[in-house]
Symmetry: C2
Subunit: 191 residues, 2 copies
DNA sequence: GTCTATACGAAGATAGAC
DNA sequence: GTCTATCTTCGTATAGAC
């Protein structure tokens, strides 16, 4: 066979896309097979426990880039204001300017939701903790900081849903555009 | 049979719940049959085109109460401020204080999404138009009004997702609590 | 209007050859 | 590590009796 075989991370990436687009129940083995170019048995070779393994791998595959691009940028030693802006930029890229459905949304629906829920919840908490840290460093009241961190998560998820339904990424992009301003409202810019 | 048979609207309500909880693909005929107490064939008697018919009926079933409770309250001749508050209260009740997943979210995922998308989109537009009307009546700049209407939809959908994943309705309830204030920011209260 | 029975394909999953 | 073949269960859907 001269077929160029995919690396594990490439396979997982294809799988990830299927789950994002179709949800857990809609991500059938046929679709996963087609998307990866692997037969069913090959999929079971890579993911012995089947679909649940694949969804877990997809979740974990997204985690790498998620932590790097979204979470860690909030914990660098760069100036707090700069961290907010990098977070915002990377967020937009991570969701492909709002065109990508979020796994957090999609995997929290249906019978298997309890399986993934702890991980999904952790993702939300990681972002909220990172934002909380940055905002309190900037002198914001902890109550307000916590609140803004939550509202940010709400804004991300909500704008993705609304963008998806409206058929354009306007809502997401407007959320992104106003995010730094919203987060930094009332912060003293003591250069 | 002494079984108390359900009315059509009761049947649709049960179906609605299944779609909300499991999404379109996860809402199998078995689940729908169990939830309604009707055999598969009976379901086909009521909904000849099968599952797609059921989902459409569920969507239409929710529309009645949606328009009454969420949209129409924005178009009454009550004072605009009062309309905002009634909208907020009814919104909270409609989503059962944040414990109910929204059909707009759930039916916009997966292969059949294009079938329902126009209707889902219309729901979002109905709310946004109603809010836009109230806010402009209150003297708000049209640009700002449009923006706040969109942010409200984003807040609703996002807080429902985050509440679901976090396993508590706190995010939704905080969104509800701050909604009137957010909407009415900068509005002159000329009694 | 609801039931039983049934069709038929697709679902997830496994065995074993190569 | 990928394939073909196969298994079982579940999926949607229909026919026809009551």
């Amino acid at each position: 066979m001269t077929t160029i075989s995919l690396s594990r991370s490439q396979i997982i990436d294809r799988i990830l896309t299927v789950f994002r687009q179709h949800g857990y129940e809609g991500a059938s083995l046929s679709r996963l097979s087609e998307a990866t170019g692997l037969g069913r048995s090959s999929l079971y070779h890579h993911f012995p426990k089947g679909k649940e393994d694949m969804a877990s791998a997809a979740l974990k595959g997204a985690e790498q880039i998620f932590i790097e691009q979204i979470v860690n940028v909030l914990h660098t030693d760069a100036p707090a204001l700069e961290r907010v802006h990098e977070f915002t930029r990377n967020l937009s890229a991570f969701y492909q300017e709002g065109f990508k459905t979020c796994l957090i949304d999609v995997l929290s629906i249906g019978e298997t939701a309890p399986v993934f829920q702890p991980f999904l919840r952790q993702r939300i908490e990681m972002i909220q903790e990172g934002l909380f840290k940055v905002l309190t460093e900037l002198g914001l009241d902890p109550e307000i900081a916590r609140r803004r961190a939550e509202n940010t998560m709400v804004g991300i998820q909500g704008s993705l849903v609304v963008s998806r339904v409206m058929g354009n990424n306007g809502p997401f992009m407007r959320m992104i555009e106003q995010l730094p301003e919203t987060l930094l409202q009332g912060v003293e810019v003591t250069a």
